[in-house]
Amino acid sequence: DQQVKQNSPSLSVQEGRISILNCDYTNSMFDYFLWYKKYPAEGPTFLISISSIKDKNEDGRFTVFLNKSAKHLSLHIVPSQPGDSAVYFCLFSAGGTSYGKLTFGQGTILTVHP
């Protein structure tokens, strides 16, 4: 039962352009959403999060959008930089206040070309 799907295994973008990463989910109990990024040989690191009471959250070049009716989560990076090249995971939490029930997406490999 795949509750979360990151449809694009990889994404290639030119430096300065917008990167858009997407996740779809089926579990309507998810109420907290996060994005983590992972560089090779390192653990995932926190990027940005959003709760279900919001539809948008910004932090510098990173914006997360939540469309609850469509059960769709997206991450926009503007402008994209070569240092953004990494694997990006969407994470979903259901009905709790702790991280224990996190469901990860499969990951999208973002490559930003100079």
Binding site: G43, G96, S98, Y99, G100, T103
Partner: protein, 115 residues
């Protein structure tokens, strides 16, 4: 601030052998997690500790996997005996109290290959 430390970085074993991984979370972090990431998939929670107590081990294959956090600080994850499908990266993570409004910090992981 030191991050989450994991060792070894890589491990290659034959099936039916035993293996152990070690994790030292960030100092003062009460909550510790072990995740399994199989190639091409997102990490899956194996077990969650709060101090030295188990909060959730519902997805831990208890016939072969065990984990402990005896003094509420560092933790070990053991597989005995290993199977081919256990080949994965094992990630340890910690947070101060486990609540969602705090960041979850991951170690670099241990890459296990079972031959």
């Amino acid at each position: 601030e030191a991050g989450v430390a994991q060792s070894p970085r890589y491990k290659i074993i034959e099936k039916r052998q035993s293996v152990a991984f070690w994790c030292n979370p960030i100092s003062g972090h009460a909550t510790l997690y072990w995740y399994q990431q199989i190639l091409g998939q997102g990490p899956k929670l194996l077990i969650q500790f709060q101090n030295n107590g188990v909060v959730d081990d519902s997805q831990l294959p208890k016939d072969r996997f065990s984990a402990e956090r005896l003094k509420g600080v560092d933790s070990t994850l053991k597989i005995q005996p290993a199977k081919l499908e256990d080949s994965a990266v094992y990630l340890c993570a910690s947070s101060r109290t486990g609540r969602l409004n705090e960041k979850l910090f991951f170690g670099s992981g241990t890459q296990l290959s079972v031959l």
